[in-house]
């Protein structure tokens, strides 16, 4: 499923260039412990987290994640944004919690057989 469709349904606010929204999302992973995400997120997954510092981009690049969704209305640090743009990793924001975001996304992806 395209990131763009997910962003529309969940009302996510993209902070990075819109071209990134054309990416395919293979599933999703929720986590704030970076070692856990590194060990368990799957390629092409959308990553839901409350972390905002620059290392989230490194983890996303490293794991070939499709995008990062930052929850609870938190804003990424400015160096995170710089790196996300230069590394071509879409970052989207939501005021909702990780639970609510993941719950809705699960329903959407489940309908398409793409959970994880």
């Amino acid at each position: 499923m395209k990131l763009k469709e997910i962003a529309e349904i969940l009302s996510l606010r993209p902070l990075t260039p819109v071209e990134g929204l054309e990416r395919e999302v293979s599933g999703a992973y929720v986590g704030d412990l970076l070692s856990d995400v590194m060990a368990n997120a799957g390629e092409g997954n959308l990553w839901i987290t409350l972390q905002t510092h620059v290392n989230i981009v490194a983890v996303a690049v490293f794991k070939n994640l499709s995008a990062i969704v930052i929850v609870n209305g938190r804003m990424p640090d400015s160096d995170t944004m710089d790196k996300a743009v230069s590394e071509d990793i879409p970052i989207l924001l939501t005021g909702k919690s990780a639970f609510e975001t993941a719950g809705k996304l699960y329903q959407i992806l489940n309908a398409q057989n793409l959970q994880g």
């Binding site: 070692s35 510092h53 290392n55």
Partner: protein
């Protein structure tokens, strides 16, 4: 694909330079894929290397990450000038960490680093001298 020769190299890592976190492991991942190592092995090596790289960044002043890719195995050696580990057995326990609060707030320091390295390596060795540094050696068989 069979590896027909040996590839070697190293990366220098500066402690505390979080803006460059993951650069060495991401570069090594690209090298492994270019050499023709299969995806599952690349995945294991890359995760183990990223954890080693982060440990140097979090705890040490500086360190070096060396890799040797031979037809039989991939060998990663992470050597740092850090505080050393007092109790290695304790440090190997999942969930145990001596990371400061600000590192934990970043989502590192969950006590998963060394266990993740061990889990992804076929052979894992760690040697540490308090006040001098730590050396981790990981071998992943091809």
């Amino acid at each position: 694909m069979k590896i027909d020769k040996t590839y070697e190299g190293n990366f220098h890592i500066v402690g505390g330079d979080f803006s460059r976190a993951g650069e060495a492991s991401t570069e090594l991942k690209t090298i492994l894929l270019n050499v023709g190592i299969e995806d599952e092995i690349v995945r294991r090596v890359a995760i183990a290397t990223f954890e080693a790289e982060m440990n140097i960044m979090i705890y040490a002043t500086a360190g070096i990450l060396r890799y040797i890719i031979s037809p039989e195995e991939i060998r990663i050696i992470a050597e740092d000038m850090g505080p050393g580990i007092e109790d290695i057995e304790l440090a190997m326990q999942e969930g145990y960490s001596t990371a400061p609060d600000w590192v934990r707030e970043m989502g590192w320091g969950a006590g998963m680093g060394l266990p993740n390295m061990k889990k992804n390596a076929d052979i894992f060795r760690i040697d540490s001298v308090v006040g001098e540094g730590t050396t981790v050696e990981m071998i992943i068989k091809l």
